[in-house]
Amino acid sequence: MVDFTLWDILRNLGLAARWTVLLSLIAFAGGGLIGMALLVARVAKWPGAERAVAGYVQLFQGTPLLMQLFLAYFGLGLLGIDVSAWVAAALALTLYSSAFLTEIWRGCVASVPKGQWEASQALAMSLWEQLRHVIGPQALRIAIPPTVGFLVQVVKGTALASVIGFIELTKAGTMISNATFRPFTVYACVALMYFVLCFPISAWSRTLERKMHAHR
């Protein structure tokens, strides 16, 4: 039997953590893009957009992320589309993030005073110009802390991708613990790794929030 030192455990977990980071970034960036598109559709009052987006948000907020991962992985398979665990995990997490982000940002846009819309409208600005130069910058300031906070949720959410066989931090932990028979040590290391990833992000979010309040 091969002997695993603590260093071996940490090194292997560290290697797997790269996939956690990558999956988080893909989900966050993809979710951000889709979330932004949904937000614009809603704000521009495209016919049917309000109800469609609200339904979309409810769907993803009202079901467990685990089920969304299962559905993406097995559901697409049933449809005859052969997806790897990678693609299924990235897809499910991206859609999940887009639903939460679009809802967070909608609240931020709604908290910009109505007078800002009216003043820019009275100056003959188009919806796009209003969003780009008047509403957007103000909503963005409000949006930064909750958005960064949600990034932490995404990082932790990637752990669920382990159940469809995607080898990220948690899955690697399971595999290593099966080989070493030291589950407590291994999972403690896994938890530590998540903490090392998440703590700086939430600390950053808190700093941003403090800065924003100082400006007010």
Binding site: P113, G115, Q116, E118, A119, S120, Q121, A122, L123, A124, M125, S126, L127, E129, H133, V134, P137, Q138, R141
Partner: protein, 244 residues
């Protein structure tokens, strides 16, 4: 031809009809003060003129252009003829004073930054704030903010300026500086429609006073007639209630 031509304008909020058939023609260079109790529809009427409120019946033209809701191109072109100043200033808090004035000309009229900055400095000087170009709105007093808002509206070179209770949110000692700017605009021949509670100012500056009551233009005429010889009991009662 009148510069603002309102005919048979009706507006409902649900079952509540707030404008019950308004006819009003404003000539270029005229200063119109709209007075009346709160809830009489005077702000709603003003906000219809640049399409911040929709109306249900009637027609409205500004500078010969019909107001067409739902036609973004027509609204954009109409709004370039109509400036508006609000009770709560509504300056863009994330932009400097100068940028507030420059934004719409650069975006809507495709002015270059240099041109827009030059124009903004000139307008800020006109409202007595030449030294505030780089200040942030929240560093200014209410009166100064409202004067920036006036400069911002003027930067679009509107044919008509709408003023919606523009001194109501100001401390009494700051009202004068804003009214002086408005008075100078009137003297320069700007067409002004203002909803106001400043009766002394209305009497001094306005060419015609519109008294609104229950969604109608109840009485209209020159200040001497409206304030000196009110015909209807409603206007008499209104004037008595404000102690003028």
């Amino acid at each position: 031809m009148p510069i603002v031509d309102i005919r048979g304008l009706r507006k409902r909020f649900g079952a509540n009809e707030v404008l019950k058939g308004i006819d009003l023609a404003v000539e270029a260079g005229e200063v119109i003060a709209i007075i009346g109790k709160s809830g009489s529809g005077k702000s709603t009427l003003l906000r219809c003129i640049n399409g911040l409120e929709t109306f249900d019946e009637g027609s409205l033209t500004v500078d010969g252009q019909a107001l067409l809701h739902g036609n973004a191109g027509a609204m954009r072109s109409l709004r370039q003829h109509v400036g508006m100043i609000f009770q709560s200033f509504n300056l863009f808090p994330h932009l400097s004073v100068g940028r507030n004035v420059m934004l719409a000309p650069m975006q809507v009229k495709n002015r270059s930054a240099d041109e827009a900055a030059k124009q903004a400095r000139k307008l800020l000087e006109r409202v007595g704030l030449a030294d505030k170009f780089d200040a942030r709105p929240d560093q200014l007093s209410g009166g100064q903010q409202q004067r920036v808002a006036i400069a911002r509206a003027l930067a679009m070179e509107p044919a008509v300026l709408l003023c919606d209770e523009i001194t109501s949110a100001l401390d009494p000692e700051l009202v004068g500086e804003v009214l002086r700017v408005v008075e100078s605009l009137a003297a320069d021949g700007m067409t002004l429609l203002m909803v106001t509670h400043e009766m002394t100012f209305a009497r001094k500056v306005a060419d015609r006073i519109v008294f609104m009551h229950a969604g109608c233009v109840h009485e209209i005429g020159p200040p001497q007639a409206i304030f000196g010889a009110p015909k209807t009991p409603e206007l008499q009662k209104f004037l008595a209630s404000i102690g003028d």
